[in-house]
Each structure stands twice: as structure tokens, then as C-alpha cells.
């Protein structure tokens, strides 16, 4: 991959992250609504309010003082303290990031693998029943709100005794590692399944379209003329080409996945970043919200960057 390509993408990502930081900062200072007042209960004497404001550093001029301290703090990883939990935001986020990664990772993996396979099968024979069903089902799945699916899942699977809340059974000390994993898996099952379902449709549909388009290319006809069986033509020649745009989709989708994860964690009581955000919204815990937003946004940018880089590695036309 050429230096220029890599450099360009990196620069772009850095610029975006800087812009996000500025946005993060600006949002709380510029939007209407006084965070300090929203924070404290009514009827607090004015000096108290002023003191709180000073304590939070919100009485200083926004620019440059507040901005500089913000940048400095962010650079050193200090996001302040959570109003609600009274612990450093960073600690809180780190603690909650793990479960979210687990959930999002599992669901993505499932969705990507199954979605691509289904999309390939559908695209290889467009117009046949499998294809029509796949397209229709994907569109429908796409329209269903993820959290609603979650609630339905609870209704259905709850009957079977699948745990519907939390990540681990409270008060349960697993006798060994296997049991611990089993407990985790039982809890992970429903949320991951629902999140995956929401995404499968997208991947399937995209892969299908990409494949259909690739199959109209000349080199596919060449492959067939060479005497290859249809499966060989599809798998060896068509799929690698169709995977290229699909890879970028994976990166782009991460933002979408997070959105789904946020609501889903709320539904299942999954102790991840999503439910943290939701509870912080309710309690107006701005430092946490700021920190979480920054983290998620940076992750999405990083994921996009990674997708671009991976594409650059895979497509020989860009590589060379």
C-alpha cells in the first residue's frame, strides 16, 4: 500500500478525531440549558451554585481557558468525575467497556459470517426463491427496531429459562472456569442473537448486491469458459471481488452497531457502555456522557480507518 494512501487516511482520521473533540467540548458549553443548574436540586442558594460552578471550572471564559484545560485533560486521559458514581470517568468507562466489546464483538462476528454466506447464496442465483426470500427478510429485519426485537426475544425465550437480565447471575459463585463461561454464555445468548439478527439483513443484502454486480463482469464468463463448475466460478472468482466493498461496510457499520448496542443493553440490563450512557442521561451525568461519546466516536473513526486500510491491503489495485 502506498505511503500516500496510508498517510492520507491517517491524516483524515486524526482530523476527524480533532473535530470530534472540539464538538464534544462545544456541545456542553454552547447548547442552551445550564448544566450546573440542571445538576443541582432546586432551591440551592446562589453561592452554592457559584461554588459548584467554580469547582467544575465552568466559570472561566470558554475560550481559551476552558478549552485549553479541556484539551489538556483529555490528552492526559482525565475525563473528570462522574456525578452519579463519584469515581473517575475513566475508571467507569474502562470497567464498562469490556461487556460492550463482548456483546458487540460476538454479534458482529455472527452477523458478518452468516450474513455473507447468505448473501453469497442469494446472489449466486438471483431471482430464485432463496434470493427473493433473503431480500424480503432482510428488508423486514432492517425495519424492526432492535430494542423491540429484544423485548420480543425476552417474551419468547424468557419462557425457556434464558436469563433475561445482566451479564452474570447475581450471587452465583461458579465452581470452575467452565461453569463461569457457561453462565456468561447463557446471559450473552439473547442480546447477542438479537443484535446479530438486526445486522444480518444488512450484510446479506449488501453482499448479494455486490455479488450480482460482480457476476456480470467479463472475467466471470472467462472462468466459465475455462470449464470451471459454477460453484468454483462463484467461490474462486466472484466472491473475492464482492468481498472488497463488503469489508468497508463492516467498518462503516460499527457506528450503527453501537447505536443498537446502546438500546439493547438497556433492555437486557447488560452492564456495558450502552446502559451506562442511558443511566447517565437520566441523571444528567455529563462528564460520563462526554467521555463515552468521545470514546465511541473515536472507536468508530478508528474502525472506519481500519476498514479502509484492510481494503487497501486486500485490493491489489490499491496495494501496488
Amino acid at each position: 500500500m502506498s505511503r500516500a494512501y496510508l498517510g492520507g487516511k491517517l491524516l483524515h482520521a486524526l482530523l476527524t478525531i480533532s473535530a470530534i473533540m472540539v464538538l464534544n467540548f462545544a456541545l456542553f458549553r454552547i447548547l442552551p440549558g445550564d448544566p450546573v443548574r440542571a445538576l443541582l436540586p432546586r432551591g440551592i442558594p446562589a453561592e452554592q451554585v457559584a461554588a459548584t460552578r467554580a469547582h467544575l471550572g465552568l466559570d472561566q471564559p470558554i475560550f481559551p481557558d476552558q478549552f485549553i484545560s479541556y484539551v489538556a485533560a483529555t490528552a492526559s486521559g482525565d475525563f473528570g468525575y462522574s456525578f452519579q458514581y463519584r469515581v473517575p470517568v475513566t475508571t467507569l468507562i474502562v470497567e464498562r467497556a469490556g461487556p460492550t466489546v463482548l456483546l458487540v464483538g460476538t454479534a458482529s462476528l455472527l452477523a458478518i459470517v452468516i450474513g455473507i454466506v447468505i448473501g453469497t447464496l442469494a446472489g449466486a442465483r438471483p431471482g430464485r426463491w432463496f434470493d427473493s426470500v433473503t431480500v424480503a427478510a432482510s428488508l423486514v429485519l432492517y425495519a424492526l427496531p432492535v430494542f423491540w426485537l429484544g423485548m420480543i426475544a425476552i417474551m419468547i425465550f424468557g419462557q425457556f429459562g434464558f436469563p433475561i437480565n445482566g451479564m452474570l447471575t447475581p450471587g452465583f459463585t461458579p465452581p470452575d472456569a467452565l461453569a463461569a463461561i457457561g453462565d456468561l454464555a447463557a446471559h450473552l445468548f439473547m442480546p447477542a442473537l438479537v443484535l446479530a439478527l438486526a445486522l444480518i439483513g444488512q450484510y446479506a443484502l449488501f453482499m448479494r448486491s455486490a455479488l450480482v454486480e460482480v457476476m456480470t463482469e467479463d472475467y466471470i464468463e472467462t472462468a466459465r469458459s475455462k470449464g470451471l463448475r459454477e460453484e468454483q466460478v462463484v467461490i474462486r472468482h466472484a466472491v473475492p471481488n464482492a468481498l472488497l466493498p463488503t469489508v468497508t461496510l463492516i467498518g462503516i457499520n460499527l457506528g450503527v452497531i453501537f447505536a443498537g448496542a446502546i438500546t439493547l443493553e438497556n433492555v437486557f440490563g447488560w452492564p456495558g457502555l450502552g446502559s451506562l450512557i442511558v443511566s447517565s442521561v437520566a441523571s444528567r451525568d455529563y462528564p460520563v456522557l462526554q467521555g463515552a461519546f468521545l470514546l465511541i466516536a473515536v472507536t468508530v473513526v478508528a474502525a472506519n480507518l481500519a476498514a479502509d486500510l484492510v481494503y487497501g491491503l486486500l485490493d491489489p489495485r490499491v496495494r501496488g
Binding site: 463482469e217 467479463d218 472475467y219 464468463e221 472467462t222 472462468a223 466459465r224 469458459s225 475455462k226 470449464g227 470451471l228 463448475r229 468454483q232 474462486r236 472468482h237 473475492p240 471481488n241 472488497l244 486486500l314 485490493d315 491489489p316 489495485r317 501496488g320
Partner: protein, 348 residues
Amino acid sequence: MSLLEITDLAVRFRVPGGRLRAVDGISFTVDSGEAVGLVGESGCGKTTVARAILGRLPANGRIVGGSIRLAGEELVGMPESQLRRHRWRDMSLVFQGAMNALNPVIRVGDQVIEPILQHERATRQQAQRRAAELFDRVGISPARMRDYPHEFSGGMRQRVVIAMALANRPKLLIGDEPTTALDVMVQAQILDLLESLRRELGLSLLLISHDLSVVAETCDQAVVMYAGRIVESGPIAQVYAGPMHPYTEKLLASTPDVRGERAIGTSIPGVVPDLVSPLAGCRFNPRCDRAMTACLEIDPPELIVDGHRVFCHAVTHDGRLPPPRELPVLEHARLVADAETQSVELVE
């Protein structure tokens, strides 16, 4: 016995307007080691012939008559699984627009090796060795086998495609407009390459082109097609020196000769006919300047003079064409134009 024998081949396409007879009863042969050129303008059915031979007609096309015998084996009606085994082994195809015939994400070497491994019991190493030889033969350094298609120029890609076509040492190589879209210098190189390969490997060549000069350079025999039918065929020298069909004559005349007089070549007035509801009789008759009443109703008969074959009403027994008459519609137009310029009264 000829290597390729096509007898009365008819191919029909189902189109929105009805059924299109793209190929309507043609017969010709290609002998072992011979190079035959299939000539005609776009839409005359020549590519369809190539695809029919390989059994790779598009979904709406079907062979509805005739036979294609390759080394004695009948290909028409052969099940797909069997046909697949013949493809590339006994006959291979160099496509039109070969630039895009290569998969952009697979190394060219692997693409050449693929048919070898597919059809023969070779190890990967053996296949690689043969591929390297082929690359060498077509004039590309074998070191470039690990490169990707986009790293080659158009002409080089064409060579790769030729190497790929020869991978299984086929007896027959069909080239469908192999030099279109290449500039003239590269064209000449590719043609030379095909010629030398033919001599070295004893290949038979079926070269399809709309360009007469290309065919003249490489082929022994010429087969001229028009609107799905053969109008003339025979040894190259004879066909070019003394065409027996008005269409061939016009075709040859429309190619400007560098050494000839300075004159803009004549084009053939009119358009290719509608093949969904073709005319009765000779299909060329609306554009022909020797057209007679018989041409409008009766299929032109075959006449063979010294291995030179033609389908025409107007040609004499010893293979000569009468002098051209002016087309009625053109004559009228000329009269009108003259009258206008000279302000002479029209006398009908």
C-alpha cells in the same frame, strides 16, 4: 477429417420482439493446422458462432439446428457436464475485449495455471512450469507471473489471455476480435504471435473479425458472413483478389488502400436487416447493386468454383459478377439532386 466441422448451424435468441435467428444455417470447416477467418460486420452472428461452438450461449439463446463436430465428436446436444470437460482442453477462446477477461484480484500466473489444474492431473509445480513456458512463448517474462492484471498494459494483457487460452494445449483456438481495442502496432505484434504459435504448436485458428486486414494477414481461408448467413468463403487469396459476392466486393472496397488512389472509400448504403422477421430470399438484397427479382424471393444457391464458395443469384458460372447498377433509390436521389442544382425539370 477436418478438426472442426460446422454443418447447417442455426442459433435462435428469444428477444422481446420475438425470436431472432442470429445464425441461420451456416456450414464451414477448419482443418488441422489451418487458420480460418470469419468476417462480417457487427451483428452478423460471428460471435454467436464462437459462443455456440464453446456451448456458452447466453441464457436466451439456443442451438436449434445443425451440427458442430470437433475432432469427430458431436457437440450439439452434449450435456453441460461433458461440454465442460471439452472446454479449454480441445478448444479455447480468446475473448473480445480481453482487457477485462482477467480477474483483477487474482495473480495472472494463477489464472493461467487454473485450467491446467482443472482439467489435467498435474501437480502445482508442473502446472507452474508449463505456465512459465507459455508466458515465455507469448513474450512475457515468467517472473511476471506473480503480478496482477492491472500491472500490465492492454497488449500485454492480451498476451496473458492468449497464454491462458493455450494452457491446456487445445487443438483449436478461437479468437473473437482479439485485436480490437489495441493500437495498430500492438495489433501487428499480437497477430504475429498468433501466427508463430500456430506454426510451432500446430494449432488450428478460427479468427473472428470485422477487420479484413487482420484476417488477410493471418488466415488461409476466409468465411464471409452477413445477417446470420455465409455469403462467400474460400482461400484468402482468391476471395480477396476476386470476390464473388457483391457484399464481399463492397467490404473490400471500403477499406482504404494506402497505395491506391486518394479517394474516400465507398460505404455500403443501408442497414443490416431485422433478423426477427427476416426477408425472404437473399438477405443482402436491399443493399445490393446487382439485385434481381429472384433475390427477393428465392434463397441464393450455392456455387463452388475451385474451392471458392459463394451464395448469390447474380454471379455467373465461372464466378464473375456483372457490373453494378445503381440502386433505384440512389438513382432517384441523384436525379433529384441534379435537377435541383441545374434547375432542370424532372422528367419521370
